[in-house]
Protein backbone atom coordinates (compact mmCIF):
# COMPACT_ATOMS: atom_id res chain seq x y z
CA UNK A 1 0.00 0.00 0.00
CA UNK A 2 2.86 2.30 0.87
CA UNK A 3 4.38 1.64 -2.55
CA UNK A 4 1.08 2.38 -4.36
CA UNK A 5 0.77 5.58 -2.32
CA UNK A 6 4.32 6.59 -3.35
CA UNK A 7 3.61 5.76 -7.02
CA UNK A 8 0.37 7.78 -7.02
CA UNK A 9 2.13 10.67 -5.28
CA UNK A 10 4.97 10.65 -7.83
CA UNK A 11 2.49 10.65 -10.73
CA UNK A 12 0.50 13.57 -9.29
CA UNK A 13 3.72 15.48 -8.55
CA UNK A 14 4.72 15.04 -12.20
CA UNK A 15 1.87 17.27 -13.32
CA UNK A 16 0.98 19.33 -10.25
CA UNK A 17 4.28 20.58 -8.85
CA UNK A 18 2.79 24.00 -8.16
CA UNK A 19 -1.00 24.16 -7.82
CA UNK A 20 -1.22 27.78 -8.97
CA UNK A 21 0.75 27.01 -12.15
CA UNK A 22 -1.44 23.99 -12.96
CA UNK A 23 -4.69 25.92 -12.41
CA UNK A 24 -3.34 28.80 -14.51
CA UNK A 25 -2.48 26.47 -17.42
CA UNK A 26 -5.90 24.80 -17.26
CA UNK A 27 -7.67 28.19 -17.25
CA UNK A 28 -5.66 29.39 -20.27
CA UNK A 29 -6.36 26.16 -22.22
CA UNK A 30 -10.08 26.31 -21.34
CA UNK A 31 -10.28 29.98 -22.33
CA UNK A 32 -8.53 29.25 -25.64
CA UNK A 33 -10.90 26.35 -26.33
CA UNK A 34 -13.91 28.48 -25.46
CA UNK A 35 -13.06 31.46 -27.68
CA UNK A 36 -11.82 29.28 -30.56
CA UNK A 37 -14.70 26.79 -30.60
CA UNK A 38 -17.36 29.50 -30.23
CA UNK A 39 -15.86 31.43 -33.15
CA UNK A 40 -15.43 34.63 -31.10
CA UNK A 41 -11.90 34.97 -32.48
CA UNK A 42 -10.11 33.35 -35.44
CA UNK A 43 -8.19 30.16 -34.50
CA UNK A 44 -4.83 31.87 -34.90
CA UNK A 45 -5.78 34.54 -32.34
CA UNK A 46 -6.78 31.67 -30.05
CA UNK A 47 -3.28 30.25 -30.61
CA UNK A 48 -1.75 33.58 -29.60
CA UNK A 49 -3.90 33.63 -26.43
CA UNK A 50 -2.70 30.10 -25.61
CA UNK A 51 1.00 30.84 -26.20
CA UNK A 52 1.11 34.27 -24.51
CA UNK A 53 -1.16 33.09 -21.69
CA UNK A 54 1.24 30.24 -20.89
CA UNK A 55 4.18 32.67 -20.88
CA UNK A 56 2.33 34.98 -18.45
CA UNK A 57 1.36 32.05 -16.19
CA UNK A 58 4.99 30.89 -16.12
CA UNK A 59 6.38 34.33 -15.23
CA UNK A 60 3.74 34.96 -12.53
CA UNK A 61 4.37 31.49 -11.08
CA UNK A 62 8.13 32.15 -10.89
CA UNK A 63 7.56 35.53 -9.20
CA UNK A 64 5.10 33.97 -6.73
CA UNK A 65 7.50 31.11 -6.00
CA UNK A 66 10.34 33.56 -5.42
CA UNK A 67 8.27 35.69 -3.01
CA UNK A 68 6.85 32.70 -1.15
CA UNK A 69 10.23 31.04 -0.62
CA UNK A 70 11.82 34.32 0.43
CA UNK A 71 9.02 35.05 2.93
CA UNK A 72 9.33 31.53 4.32
CA UNK A 73 13.09 32.00 4.73
CA UNK A 74 12.60 35.42 6.36
CA UNK A 75 9.99 33.92 8.72
CA UNK A 76 12.31 31.14 9.82
CA UNK A 77 15.18 33.63 10.39
CA UNK A 78 12.91 35.86 12.53
CA UNK A 79 11.77 32.85 14.57
CA UNK A 80 15.37 31.88 15.17
CA UNK A 81 16.39 35.40 16.32
CA UNK A 82 13.34 35.70 18.59
CA UNK A 83 14.37 32.50 20.40
CA UNK A 84 17.87 33.86 21.07
CA UNK A 85 17.77 35.65 24.49
Amino acid sequence: MNFLHDAAGALVKMFVGDAWLSVGVLIIVSLTGLVTESGVVPPLVGGAILFLGCIVVLVVSVVRGDRRLRNRRRGSTENRTSIVP
Partner: protein, 249 residues
Protein backbone atom coordinates in the same frame (compact mmCIF):
# COMPACT_ATOMS: atom_id res chain seq x y z
CA UNK B 1 9.25 6.76 -44.29
CA UNK B 2 9.97 9.34 -41.57
CA UNK B 3 12.43 12.04 -42.63
CA UNK B 4 15.38 13.04 -40.46
CA UNK B 5 14.09 16.61 -40.00
CA UNK B 6 10.77 15.29 -38.64
CA UNK B 7 12.32 12.65 -36.40
CA UNK B 8 15.32 14.63 -35.06
CA UNK B 9 13.37 16.94 -32.67
CA UNK B 10 11.47 13.94 -31.24
CA UNK B 11 14.70 11.91 -30.80
CA UNK B 12 16.53 14.88 -29.25
CA UNK B 13 13.71 15.90 -26.88
CA UNK B 14 13.13 12.30 -25.71
CA UNK B 15 16.89 11.73 -25.28
CA UNK B 16 17.51 14.87 -23.18
CA UNK B 17 14.37 14.54 -21.05
CA UNK B 18 14.99 10.83 -20.43
CA UNK B 19 18.64 11.50 -19.55
CA UNK B 20 17.55 13.47 -16.45
CA UNK B 21 15.19 10.70 -15.29
CA UNK B 22 17.61 7.84 -16.01
CA UNK B 23 20.40 9.59 -14.05
CA UNK B 24 18.06 9.83 -11.04
CA UNK B 25 17.08 6.14 -11.31
CA UNK B 26 20.74 5.16 -11.74
CA UNK B 27 21.71 7.00 -8.52
CA UNK B 28 19.16 5.02 -6.48
CA UNK B 29 20.02 1.66 -8.09
CA UNK B 30 23.71 2.40 -7.45
CA UNK B 31 22.95 3.13 -3.78
CA UNK B 32 20.92 -0.10 -3.53
CA UNK B 33 23.64 -2.16 -5.21
CA UNK B 34 26.53 -0.70 -3.23
CA UNK B 35 24.85 -1.07 0.16
CA UNK B 36 22.46 -3.98 -0.13
CA UNK B 37 24.20 -6.11 -2.72
CA UNK B 38 24.16 -6.20 -6.52
CA UNK B 39 21.97 -9.29 -6.79
CA UNK B 40 19.01 -7.51 -5.14
CA UNK B 41 19.65 -4.36 -7.20
CA UNK B 42 19.69 -6.31 -10.47
CA UNK B 43 16.57 -8.31 -9.60
CA UNK B 44 14.76 -5.10 -8.53
CA UNK B 45 15.83 -3.38 -11.75
CA UNK B 46 14.69 -6.32 -13.90
CA UNK B 47 11.35 -6.48 -12.06
CA UNK B 48 10.89 -2.72 -12.52
CA UNK B 49 11.62 -2.98 -16.25
CA UNK B 50 9.21 -5.94 -16.56
CA UNK B 51 6.44 -4.00 -14.77
CA UNK B 52 7.06 -1.01 -17.05
CA UNK B 53 6.95 -3.22 -20.14
CA UNK B 54 3.66 -4.76 -18.92
CA UNK B 55 2.13 -1.29 -18.46
CA UNK B 56 3.27 -0.20 -21.95
CA UNK B 57 2.01 -3.42 -23.60
CA UNK B 58 -1.34 -3.17 -21.76
CA UNK B 59 -1.99 0.51 -22.33
CA UNK B 60 -0.08 1.14 -25.58
CA UNK B 61 -2.74 -0.23 -27.99
CA UNK B 62 -5.34 2.06 -26.35
CA UNK B 63 -3.53 5.03 -27.92
CA UNK B 64 -4.73 3.88 -31.37
CA UNK B 65 -8.35 3.88 -30.19
CA UNK B 66 -8.30 7.56 -29.15
CA UNK B 67 -9.23 10.16 -31.81
CA UNK B 68 -6.11 12.10 -32.90
CA UNK B 69 -7.35 15.61 -31.98
CA UNK B 70 -8.42 14.46 -28.51
CA UNK B 71 -5.10 12.66 -28.02
CA UNK B 72 -3.18 15.78 -29.09
CA UNK B 73 -5.22 17.94 -26.68
CA UNK B 74 -4.78 15.64 -23.68
CA UNK B 75 -1.07 15.09 -24.34
CA UNK B 76 -0.58 18.79 -25.03
CA UNK B 77 -2.15 19.81 -21.71
CA UNK B 78 -0.18 17.16 -19.78
CA UNK B 79 3.01 18.31 -21.52
CA UNK B 80 2.28 21.93 -20.57
CA UNK B 81 1.72 20.96 -16.92
CA UNK B 82 4.86 18.79 -16.88
CA UNK B 83 7.11 21.10 -18.93
CA UNK B 84 6.11 24.35 -17.22
CA UNK B 85 6.69 22.70 -13.83
CA UNK B 86 10.23 21.74 -14.92
CA UNK B 87 10.92 25.18 -16.39
CA UNK B 88 9.63 26.97 -13.27
CA UNK B 89 11.85 24.85 -11.03
CA UNK B 90 14.86 25.33 -13.34
CA UNK B 91 14.34 29.13 -13.29
CA UNK B 92 14.12 29.21 -9.48
CA UNK B 93 17.25 27.03 -9.25
CA UNK B 94 19.15 29.21 -11.73
CA UNK B 95 18.15 32.26 -9.64
CA UNK B 96 19.50 30.45 -6.51
CA UNK B 97 16.06 30.57 -4.87
CA UNK B 98 15.94 26.79 -4.44
CA UNK B 99 19.05 24.60 -4.16
CA UNK B 100 20.41 22.61 -7.12
CA UNK B 101 19.63 18.92 -7.31
CA UNK B 102 22.78 17.15 -6.18
CA UNK B 103 23.19 13.49 -7.21
CA UNK B 104 25.94 13.01 -4.60
CA UNK B 105 23.57 14.28 -1.89
CA UNK B 106 20.75 12.09 -3.23
CA UNK B 107 23.11 9.11 -3.17
CA UNK B 108 24.12 9.93 0.42
CA UNK B 109 20.44 10.26 1.48
CA UNK B 110 19.52 6.92 -0.10
CA UNK B 111 22.59 5.40 1.55
CA UNK B 112 21.51 6.63 5.00
CA UNK B 113 17.96 5.33 4.45
CA UNK B 114 19.20 1.95 3.33
CA UNK B 115 21.71 1.64 6.16
CA UNK B 116 19.26 2.73 8.88
CA UNK B 117 16.41 0.54 7.74
CA UNK B 118 15.95 -2.86 9.31
CA UNK B 119 17.47 -5.53 7.11
CA UNK B 120 15.00 -8.07 5.80
CA UNK B 121 17.02 -10.96 4.55
CA UNK B 122 14.99 -14.02 3.77
CA UNK B 123 16.60 -16.95 2.01
CA UNK B 124 19.68 -14.82 1.33
CA UNK B 125 17.87 -12.22 -0.74
CA UNK B 126 17.92 -8.57 0.35
CA UNK B 127 14.34 -7.40 -0.16
CA UNK B 128 15.00 -3.80 0.83
CA UNK B 129 17.64 -3.37 -1.87
CA UNK B 130 15.38 -5.04 -4.43
CA UNK B 131 12.38 -2.85 -3.59
CA UNK B 132 14.57 0.29 -3.66
CA UNK B 133 15.76 -0.51 -7.19
CA UNK B 134 12.27 -1.63 -8.32
CA UNK B 135 10.65 1.62 -7.12
CA UNK B 136 13.31 3.79 -8.73
CA UNK B 137 13.05 2.03 -12.10
CA UNK B 138 9.24 1.96 -12.12
CA UNK B 139 8.66 5.56 -11.00
CA UNK B 140 11.38 7.22 -13.09
CA UNK B 141 10.56 4.82 -15.94
CA UNK B 142 6.92 5.95 -15.93
CA UNK B 143 8.13 9.49 -16.48
CA UNK B 144 10.29 8.32 -19.41
CA UNK B 145 7.29 6.45 -20.89
CA UNK B 146 5.17 9.58 -20.56
CA UNK B 147 7.87 11.69 -22.25
CA UNK B 148 8.12 9.21 -25.14
CA UNK B 149 4.32 9.14 -25.61
CA UNK B 150 4.05 12.92 -25.26
CA UNK B 151 6.78 13.65 -27.77
CA UNK B 152 5.92 10.89 -30.24
CA UNK B 153 2.24 10.01 -30.16
CA UNK B 154 0.86 13.18 -31.75
CA UNK B 155 2.69 12.68 -35.06
CA UNK B 156 3.31 8.94 -35.27
CA UNK B 157 6.87 9.42 -33.98
CA UNK B 158 6.78 6.87 -31.17
CA UNK B 159 9.64 4.83 -32.64
CA UNK B 160 12.12 7.75 -32.97
CA UNK B 161 11.13 9.03 -29.51
CA UNK B 162 11.64 5.53 -28.05
CA UNK B 163 15.07 5.37 -29.70
CA UNK B 164 15.95 8.71 -28.09
CA UNK B 165 14.96 7.39 -24.64
CA UNK B 166 16.82 4.12 -25.26
CA UNK B 167 19.90 6.13 -26.24
CA UNK B 168 19.72 8.00 -22.92
CA UNK B 169 19.52 4.67 -21.01
CA UNK B 170 22.54 3.29 -22.87
CA UNK B 171 24.62 6.45 -22.34
CA UNK B 172 23.88 6.53 -18.59
CA UNK B 173 24.51 2.79 -18.19
CA UNK B 174 27.82 2.88 -20.09
CA UNK B 175 29.11 6.01 -18.33
CA UNK B 176 27.79 4.72 -14.99
CA UNK B 177 29.48 1.34 -15.42
CA UNK B 178 32.77 3.09 -16.15
CA UNK B 179 32.75 5.63 -13.32
CA UNK B 180 30.74 3.56 -10.76
CA UNK B 181 29.67 6.72 -8.96
CA UNK B 182 26.59 8.97 -9.04
CA UNK B 183 26.68 10.98 -12.28
CA UNK B 184 26.99 14.29 -10.44
CA UNK B 185 28.63 16.11 -13.34
CA UNK B 186 25.56 15.96 -15.55
CA UNK B 187 24.45 19.61 -15.76
CA UNK B 188 20.99 18.68 -14.58
CA UNK B 189 19.59 22.18 -14.21
CA UNK B 190 20.79 23.27 -17.66
CA UNK B 191 19.22 20.11 -19.09
CA UNK B 192 15.98 20.74 -17.20
CA UNK B 193 15.97 24.32 -18.46
CA UNK B 194 16.38 23.26 -22.09
CA UNK B 195 14.05 20.26 -21.87
CA UNK B 196 11.42 22.27 -19.94
CA UNK B 197 11.40 24.81 -22.79
CA UNK B 198 11.14 22.03 -25.41
CA UNK B 199 8.30 20.28 -23.53
CA UNK B 200 6.43 23.60 -23.18
CA UNK B 201 6.90 24.18 -26.92
CA UNK B 202 5.50 20.73 -27.78
CA UNK B 203 2.72 21.34 -25.23
CA UNK B 204 1.54 24.62 -26.79
CA UNK B 205 1.83 23.08 -30.27
CA UNK B 206 -0.16 19.88 -29.50
CA UNK B 207 -2.77 21.71 -27.39
CA UNK B 208 -3.30 24.19 -30.24
CA UNK B 209 -3.56 21.39 -32.82
CA UNK B 210 -6.00 19.57 -30.54
CA UNK B 211 -8.15 22.71 -30.39
CA UNK B 212 -8.13 22.94 -34.20
CA UNK B 213 -5.50 25.68 -34.55
CA UNK B 214 -3.45 25.38 -37.77
CA UNK B 215 -0.10 26.89 -36.80
CA UNK B 216 1.64 28.93 -39.51
CA UNK B 217 4.88 27.19 -40.57
CA UNK B 218 3.52 23.90 -39.14
CA UNK B 219 6.27 22.03 -37.17
CA UNK B 220 8.65 25.00 -37.40
CA UNK B 221 6.49 26.77 -34.82
CA UNK B 222 7.82 24.27 -32.22
CA UNK B 223 11.28 25.82 -32.66
CA UNK B 224 9.84 29.33 -32.26
CA UNK B 225 7.89 28.35 -29.13
CA UNK B 226 10.94 26.57 -27.67
CA UNK B 227 13.19 29.59 -28.24
CA UNK B 228 10.57 31.93 -26.75
CA UNK B 229 10.11 29.81 -23.60
CA UNK B 230 13.88 29.52 -23.21
CA UNK B 231 14.38 33.29 -23.53
CA UNK B 232 11.54 34.07 -21.11
CA UNK B 233 12.93 31.51 -18.62
CA UNK B 234 16.47 32.90 -18.85
CA UNK B 235 15.14 36.46 -18.53
CA UNK B 236 13.01 35.56 -15.49
CA UNK B 237 15.99 33.83 -13.83
CA UNK B 238 18.19 36.88 -14.44
CA UNK B 239 15.58 39.31 -13.05
CA UNK B 240 14.89 37.21 -9.94
CA UNK B 241 18.64 36.69 -9.34
CA UNK B 242 19.21 40.46 -9.61
CA UNK B 243 16.46 41.22 -7.12
CA UNK B 244 17.88 38.61 -4.70
CA UNK B 245 21.33 40.24 -5.07
CA UNK B 246 19.89 43.73 -4.50
CA UNK B 247 18.15 42.61 -1.27
CA UNK B 248 21.32 40.88 -0.04
CA UNK B 249 23.25 44.11 -0.57
Amino acid sequence: MISFTTAAPAVGAAFLASLVEVVEAFTIVLAAGTLRGWRAAFVGTAAGLAALAAIVVALGPLLDQVPLHFLQLVIGVLLLLFGMGWLRKAVLRAARIIPFHDENAAFAAETVDATDAATLRRSGFDWLGGVMAFKAILLEGLEVVFIVIAVGAGRDLLLPASLGALGACIVVLVVGAIVRRPLARVPENSLKFAVGAILCAFGVFWTGEGLGIAWPGADLMILFFGAAFLLVGLGAAAVVRQSVGAIAR
